[in-house]
């Protein structure tokens, strides 16, 4: 039975209870059957880890966000920078 055939079923309750399981299985089987994809997912996860857990955390803090508590302080600082 094809994925969308389920939507044409007259039993809506069955559709509702099974749809999440079917989506889960769709992704699960998709990921399991990957060949090149596994290597790519490893690259993606390492990349995201470096970006968010290393670069963002230690090197790329929001300059205005970390220096000031309120938007008013931020705007005062930027005006000072623009007009100094």
């Amino acid at each position: 039975m094809l994925f969308l055939d389920k939507f044409t079923s007259s039993n809506n309750d069955t559709v509702r209870t099974n749809i999440f399981r079917r989506i889960f299985r769709f992704y699960y089987e998709g990921f399991r059957s990957m060949t090149v994809g596994k290597q790519l997912w490893a690259i993606i996860l390492i990349k995201l880890f470096i970006m968010f857990a290393v670069l963002k955390l230690f090197f790329f803090r929001d300059t205005l966000g970390t220096r000031f508590d309120t938007d008013e302080e931020r705007s005062n600082y930027v005006i000072e920078q623009l007009t100094k």
Partner: protein, 516 residues
Amino acid sequence: MNEVFDYNLIDWSRGQFALTAIYHWIFVPLTLGLAFIVAIMHTFYYKTGSQAWKKTTKFWMTLFGINFAIGVATGIILEFEFGTNWSNYSWFVGDIFGAPLAVEGIMAFFLESTFIAVMFFGWDKVSKGFHVTASWLTAFGASLSALWILVANAWMQFPTGMHFNPDTARNEMGSFWEVLFSPVAINKFLHTISSAYLLASIFIIGVSAWYLLKGRNVAFARRSIVVAVVFGLITSIYTIVTGDGSARQVAQKQPMKFAAMEGLYRGQEGAGLVAIGLMATNANDPNNENIKDFAFKIEIPNLLSYMAYYDFNAFIPGIKDLMDGNEAQGIPPVTEKIIRGKMAIQALSDYKMARQAGNDSVALQAKQVLDENFKYFGYGYFESDPDRLVPSVPLSFYSFHLMVALGMFFFFLMIIIMVLLFKRRLETSRFWLRVAIWTIPLAYLASQSGWVTAEMGRQPWVIQDLMPTMVAVSQIDAGAVQITFWLFAALFTTLLIAELKIMFKQIHIGPKDGGK
């Protein structure tokens, strides 16, 4: 106003952003273009049910997946940089930049992330109709994501649809539609995505040409080239047309950039287009690295005027006209703009102080002065060194002409490949097959040259006429920027090597059963 800027910090911050953007743009155009070509191939499979088309689709889909996986999220680093290295800019642009990027995030997430999974995992699991629809939605989703980024970029080149709030020091969006449908945004989007589609066509033709040279997967390679060359020819024409429109917008909205792109120092009526030119040191000003004469040039008379204004005799201002002014043409000198810019900056300062002191009448007067002069706000920072208002002429000229020359070459290559293909002589034309392979790096070179023209040509502005790059930068330690520059260089180079290694391996393996 104290015009002392840390140019070491500014240069490293610019270098870091440029490095990130260049690497990001290595991955993006192939994703944008391959998505569409894969969708077309998938449609052929859907219509014919042919296993050959299925294998062809799956092979290019794999290469698309590799490129997508390696490139995905590299653009997020640019957003990190906005908050850290360009905090004054990020604050100043307010929701103008934030709104398109937020829409981009939502669209990218829902369209690309959802349908890309169906596209890859959906073989024999979802209906064929739903599956091919997912391929098309992935392609449209990718291009729509690009739309919002390019709208934000276009606003920086031609700020419109906003008003400046002196209380918050932020620009606030007055009209979303004016920002979205600004002529610069429309042209930029169409030109950028069509060039990305063209790059992907060249990629497929080049890889397929390699198979033909090796005598491997011949039927598959021919099938792939048929789709890519038709798509490539259409998109090469469209790239030329939209490039022409884009250049016209630059001529009208960013005349200094246009003059730099053309190496036009003195304005003239009926200006000629320099088709080929070689710049050399100016005999009258040998120490000026930026102002150079042409040692050699081939010029097409009157064509530049026509390109810019559809009038063979229209006046095109040169760098000198824009700097010194040209009364006859109604062009004010930069000295006047600098005075008005300083008035705007002073008015902002006066307004803030008056508000803090609770003096509403002085605040109102200051706001009036600010509003009247705001369009020259950024010029106020150039009193001590107005020459900085001129972008690098050699870099702008060469990058622009390289892009145009390569764009024309791609168009003719598409015609040649198409003729050879339909005369059934492509497999034996080893010269053109080799040319097709070597055109792949040239497509990337053209694509990057386009961005160099767009971004270096608009210097010193980060927001045209309103905010120069040197004011946009955060006051942080230059050493920290250097460290992250090298970290990015290492990270992106590793990613690029990984991409090339995995992709070459898959190309070497080829399609399943030779794509038969």
